[in-house]
Symmetry: C2
Subunit: 141 residues, 2 copies
DNA sequence: ACTCATCATTTGTACATACAACTTCACAAT
DNA sequence: ATTGTGAAGTTGTATGTACAAATGATGAGT
């Protein structure tokens, strides 16, 4: 059955969750080439763009809780893609050589994901929708 | 930081997930009076409306995987709110007395959730957005 | 009647995320 | 110098969900 045909197709809870799960699935597929989940990949991309970023900053930009950020970094550290340097009460996250080497592939994955989701919906509509979703999310914080 | 200000505010993955998590939070709050998570509550409401419903039907309407439906039912059974009757290769789910007694409160929670999320956004805009989200979800299946 | 494919459901396991409690450090007030 | 306060980060634990494999029942083909 399609989401639009469900009994709860007018419910925000239903719509938001269903969409998120399906987008997650598409994203997972898109980032398979680097063997990372989308969240790990986005975090790594941020660190590559701004080496030495702090967890709290990552938490802000990715809108994930600090504890989740810790867990994501832990896994990337296990994979030797980033490393943490503790400096006073701050933690700085740097990409490793291996992480840096992944940049190109990561960008390609991001582009593929974007293309895959774009081809399903008009560009303008998509952009408006994403903006609306972000606005609504802000109102819910 | 707001979602609209994030580095990834144009990314569908980001928008869909952030929104879903915040909606989940609001919904959790709304259904606290019945001490059920939103998913459990919606499942129970479906069963109350159509006693004897099968898991596969619940799976269709709630757009959750069969295994997730099993887990949800298990918990509702523990709480003595529904009971399963196995009939051949099918399973029928019925509400118990205790479940039936909860109907009114459940409906009030649903209404509260709806009101809480509605007051943040124009009715028309909201409806259009939810419809768009469902459509996009369908295209992603 | 026997076997096989199929469907509905369940079980084991894993992932993404969050909350609450804790640690550690820095800085301000005394 | 001592104490208190608060921020940054981590850890233990819990929730929601899914996938893959297993179970069990039905029905078709032989």
């Amino acid at each position: 059955m399609k989401a639009t045909e469900s009994k709860y197709n007018q419910c925000l809870y239903f719509a938001a969750n269903t969409l998120a799960r399906k987008v997650e699935k598409l994203a997972l597929e898109s980032w398979k080439p680097v063997d990372l989940s989308p969240s790990h990949a986005y975090l790594l991309m941020m660190v590559l763009e701004e080496p030495g970023l702090q967890p709290c900053c990552l938490s802000d930009h990715l809108q994930l809780s600090p504890s989740t950020i810790t867990r994501l970094i832990e896994k990337l550290e296990e994979k030797k893609l980033v490393s943490r340097i503790i400096e006073g009460k701050m933690t700085l996250v740097y990409p490793t050589e291996k992480g840096i080497a992944l940049l190109q592939t990561l960008q390609k994955c991001a582009k593929d994901f974007h293309n895959n989701s774009c081809c399903l919906i008009e560009k303008e509509e998509r952009e408006a929708m994403v903006l609306n979703m972000c606005c609504l999310a802000d109102k819910l914080s």
